[in-house]
């Protein structure tokens, strides 16, 4: 008996051990699942409460004070004061914190939350206006300004834009601007800033409606929109006058229509599909990349709806919307013969090449927070910048699996026969959010930064929803009431300010900087461009550095030579003190009339990485042109110095061209 019992114990021991291991693993998995996956159905927000107007007015007043301080900070920055950065960044943080805290108050109704978000969105737009209140400050803005001016002055579409030949082929934004400018008599710039403010309003409100419709929670939607605002492109890239800004608003509306198809009534589905079909052509005409990404995301959503084995899915309407989304971008490309492959292809190839090099360790990647001129950002801002990425990463970790199993409160659970994902809309947002880390890796590379920044904006929509879900369904229950709210508002505010810093490092003005886009724009360059139009007439073929080229192209209405337009590279004209065959050939082949020389360029390294054309600095051993390189044109009898404006000279080289 004893032996039998011992034998039984010996055979039972491994089973017990296995059970014990399984138990431990089970408990471990249960603990992990509690952390990252369990999603108690809840909607812990009061949505019907009317807004407290006094509270809203208080928030608006505090935001107004912050904006005044921001303007003071910008003034100090121009004057070169060391107090500029603390004043500017503290005021920016105060502005964001005020609106964020007000939007997150538990007693706020949905309208109050939404108004707070709109106040914050518009305030962040005002940040750009305060940066440059009378002219555009972004390089890209001038590319579209030129297209708008062409339509406005030539009364025709598709005029050649040498700085960005693809821009006139996608004239949606410019047509809206020109229609209003023509009828109001205002210039392009005032209409553009009003239009961008409207676009910002539509984007913020649509994002809120989208998250709210999918989740059924205005609190989650508020947090989601706040996280969206922490995108590197929210303040600067999507706050600028460029075609993607308008196309992104259209994209959000189409996404809203598509994702709502699933939960809508049959009548609502028809009207949502009709709205999507009306807006899809507008995206295709406005921006190429956005139209292709819209097609991809709409198709993804529709696939999820079609594959979901649940009766009553809006398959036919969804397929119709997806078909339209997929057909329209290539159709428009075909109609206008847009050279998309030549334009986008090289960017993508270089970006993937850089990414491969980074992952294989053969390239160390981009130096973060250090400009080409070697200036490093302050430590506090670097920490906030990194923190803003980490916060989103943490949000994704705690929200991704919850999103996959998320069920909108009030929706019925499907029967056992149809065990499937509860919501195709949420799954699409979760998968979109999961792609966000990949865009961050792109941003670590030199050439892939732009690709990461563009795609990151779209991935951020998904990431923001997942982060919102992680707060409402995980963090909220673990944080004490008041302290948790203050902590959440602070973290989100720092994330937004960090995102703004990551995307727009030069948000604070300084004195004149060499090749620094907005920081290089000052009255002298503007006066020279206006002089060229007045004295030389329009349509001369001009060669100039990056900043003066955009001024000459827009205010000067000149044809600036650009390799994007098939013109010969002209940077070599400025390097070297000899003026020989090579330089003459560039002038002859490019049919150059005038060369603009900016004598300030040798004083510093270029802020954006090049003086004239991408790669010029690297081709010349990272050395700027010398003063004697720039004044070599004075020694030729065939070249006339037709303008001396001190720091800027203009040479007439028409005799060589002949």
């Amino acid at each position: 008996m004893l032996f039998a019992a011992e034998r039984q114990d010996r055979t039972a021991a491994p089973d017990l051990r296995r059970e014990s291991v399984q138990g431990t693993l089970g408990r471990l998995w249960s603990a992990i699942w509690t952390l990252i996956g369990r999603a108690p159905a809840q909607a812990d927000d009061e949505t019907s409460a009317p807004p407290n107007w006094r509270r809203l007015a208080g928030t608006a007043v505090l935001a107004g004070f912050s904006l005044v301080l921001i303007a003071v900070g910008q003034g100090l920055g121009r004057a070169g004061s060391e107090h500029a950065a603390p004043v500017f960044w503290s005021a920016s943080l105060a502005l964001v914190l005020t609106c964020t805290y007000a939007a997150l108050r538990p007693e706020s109704g949905r309208l109050e939350r939404l108004i707070n978000l709109i106040v914050l969105g518009q305030s962040l737009h005002l940040l750009k206006i305060i940066y440059s209140p009378t002219i555009f400050a972004g390089f890209d803005e001038y590319l579209h300004f030129r297209t708008a001016l062409d339509i406005f002055e030539l009364h025709a579409l598709f005029a050649n834009n040498p700085l960005l030949p693809v821009s006139p082929l996608y004239p949606g934004l410019e047509l809206v601007t020109v229609s209003m400018a023509a009828l109001t008599g205002l210039g392009i710039f005032p209409v553009a800033i009003i239009l961008v403010a409207l676009i910002r309003f539509v984007s913020v409100a649509t994002c809120f409606l989208l998250f709210e419709a999918v989740s059924g929670s205005s609190r989650l939607a508020t947090i989601g929109v706040l996280v969206t605002m922490s995108s590197t492109s929210f303040v600067s890239f999507h706050g600028q006058y460029a075609y993607e800004t308008l196309a992104f608003a259209f994209f959000l509306l189409v996404l809203y229509c598509t994702l709502r198809l699933e939960s809508a009534t049959p009548y609502e589905r028809r009207r949502l599909a009709a709205l999507a079909l009306l807006l899809l052509p507008a995206i295709s005409i406005t921006h190429h990349l956005t139209s292709y990404l819209t097609a991809a995301l709409v198709t993804g959503a529709v696939l999820l709806m079609v594959l979901r084995p649940v009766p009553g899915q809006p398959r036919a309407l969804a397929l119709l919307v997806a078909a339209a989304a997929c057909i329209m971008p290539p159709l428009w490309k075909l109609i206008v013969s847009a050279p998309m492959g030549d334009y986008v292809g090289p960017h993508l190839l270089t970006a993937f090449g850089d990414l491969k090099a980074l992952l294989s360790g053969t390239h160390s990647g981009r130096q973060l927070f250090i400009g080409v001129d070697g200036v490093q950002a302050p430590l506090v801002l670097r920490v906030i910048g990194i923190m803003s990425i980490l916060v989103i990463g943490i949000g994704l970790l705690f929200g991704f699996f919850r999103a996959l199993t998320f069920r909108r409160p009030g929706t019925a659970e499907t029967g056992r026969r149809f065990r499937t994902w509860p919501s195709s809309a949420v799954v699409l947002l979760a998968l979109l959010g999961a792609s966000f880390p990949a865009t961050v890796i792109f941003k670590l590379t030199s050439a892939g930064w732009e690709v990461g920044n563009r795609l990151g904006t779209f991935a951020m929509i998904g990431a923001a929803f997942v982060c919102g879900l992680s707060v409402t369904h995980f963090w909220h229950q673990r944080l004490p009431e008041r302290a948790g709210r203050i902590g959440l508002a602070t973290v989100l505010s720092l994330t937004i300010v960090g995102g703004m810093f990551n995307g727009w490092g030069a948000a604070l003005r300084s004195g004149y900087q060499v090749a620094g886009d907005g920081l290089s724009m000052e009255p002298l360059g503007l006066a020279v461009a206006e002089w060229s139009r007045e004295v030389l007439g329009e349509g001369n073929r001009f060669v100039a550095d990056r900043t003066n080229a955009i001024f000459a192209s827009t205010f000067g209405r000149q044809i600036v030579l650009s390799t994007l337009n098939g013109d010969p590279a002209t940077a070599d004209l400025y390097f070297g003190d000899r003026f020989g065959y090579y330089e003459r050939n560039i002038i002859s082949n490019g049919f150059v009339n005038f060369i603009l020389v900016d004598r300030r360029l040798p004083s510093a390294a270029p802020k954006v990485g090049h003086y004239y054309e991408p790669g010029d600095l690297q081709q010349n051993e990272d050395l700027p042109p010398r003063q004697r390189d720039l004044t070599k044109f004075d020694h030729s009898n065939e070249i006339d110095r037709v303008l001396d404006a001190g720091a800027i000279l203009v040479y007439d080289v028409s005799k060589i061209r002949k």
Binding site: W53, A57, A63, A274, L275, A645
Partner: protein, 256 residues
């Protein structure tokens, strides 16, 4: 008919504002809010698409943009993307949509489900916020007006069609007036010596000079120099008159 009448009234008012310069600011108030909302709203009505609350506002704005884009494409073949063309196209589109929209059944646009009650304190707060916001932009514009890191003083020189006539221009783009003196020189000859002149802020001065030919008829570099009151050269431009090279001839590269 009432809606079509309103559209025609709007178009007439915009046209009137465009004809009278003093009314120009009014046209911004007439055009931007109307064109940003009504075309889209009328399209929604015409298509019998009923939306709720904020959705109406958002889709009306987006569809208005879509209609403006469509109007632009409609005008382009006629080369009519000017003020009149836009007025006819937008007014026509809105009139057509107003005619297509079902009459009488338009629900009042309601963004709120209740009547908002805004008290005086809240209203004063919003007014103060608006003043602060406008003030911040005004302050930024004022700072930008005075931001002049480099002096804006331009001297230019161009040969007119007749190669013997030289046109010289001066522009003071700074905020202070300047006293300058202009001098025109040829090779080994002084063509013009000007007296000191005051350039007021924003002032542009142009002068024409007939250059007397040299006995040799050789190419000559003509220089314009701008001096300050202490006879320091501020600006210098030059043009060469006479044929320097025959067309198509390539100068020999100098030996290293």
């Amino acid at each position: 008919m009432k809606r079509i009448g309103l559209v025609l009234l709007w178009a007439g008012a915009v046209w009137l504002c465009a004809q009278n310069k003093p009314l120009a600011p009014l046209s911004a108030l007439l055009v931007i809010p109307v064109l940003s909302f009504f075309p889209g709203w009328l399209l929604l009505r015409a298509l019998r698409i009923e939306l709720r609350g904020l959705e109406i506002l958002l889709f009306s704005i987006a569809l208005s943009w879509t209609i403006l884009i469509a109007c632009g494409f409609a005008l382009n073949p006629f080369g009519a993307l000017d003020e009149t063309g836009w007025l006819i196209a937008t007014g026509g589109a809105m009139a057509l949509l107003a005619w297509l929209a079902p009459a009488g059944s338009a629900k009042r646009l309601r963004l709120l489900s209740y009547r908002p009650h805004i008290d005086v304190i809240a209203l004063s707060g919003f007014v103060l916020a608006l003043v602060l916001t406008i003030g911040s932009v005004g302050l930024a514009a004022w700072q930008e007006h005075f931001y002049r890191p480099f002096e804006v003083l331009e001297l230019w020189m161009r040969l007119r069609n007749d190669a013997a006539e030289l046109r010289v221009g001066l522009h003071n783009g700074d905020l202070q007036e300047r006293v300058v003196r202009l001098e025109i020189r040829g090779e080994r000859r002084l063509i013009h010596v000007g007296t000191p002149m005051i350039l007021k802020p924003g002032q542009t001065v142009t002068r024409s000079f007939i250059i007397p030919p040299t006995p040799e008829q050789a190419p000559e570099r003509i220089e314009a120099l701008l001096f300050d009151t202490e006879n320091r050269v501020l600006r210098r431009t030059h043009v060469t008159i006479g044929d320097v090279l025959a067309a198509g001839r390539i100068e020999k590269e100098p030996d290293e």
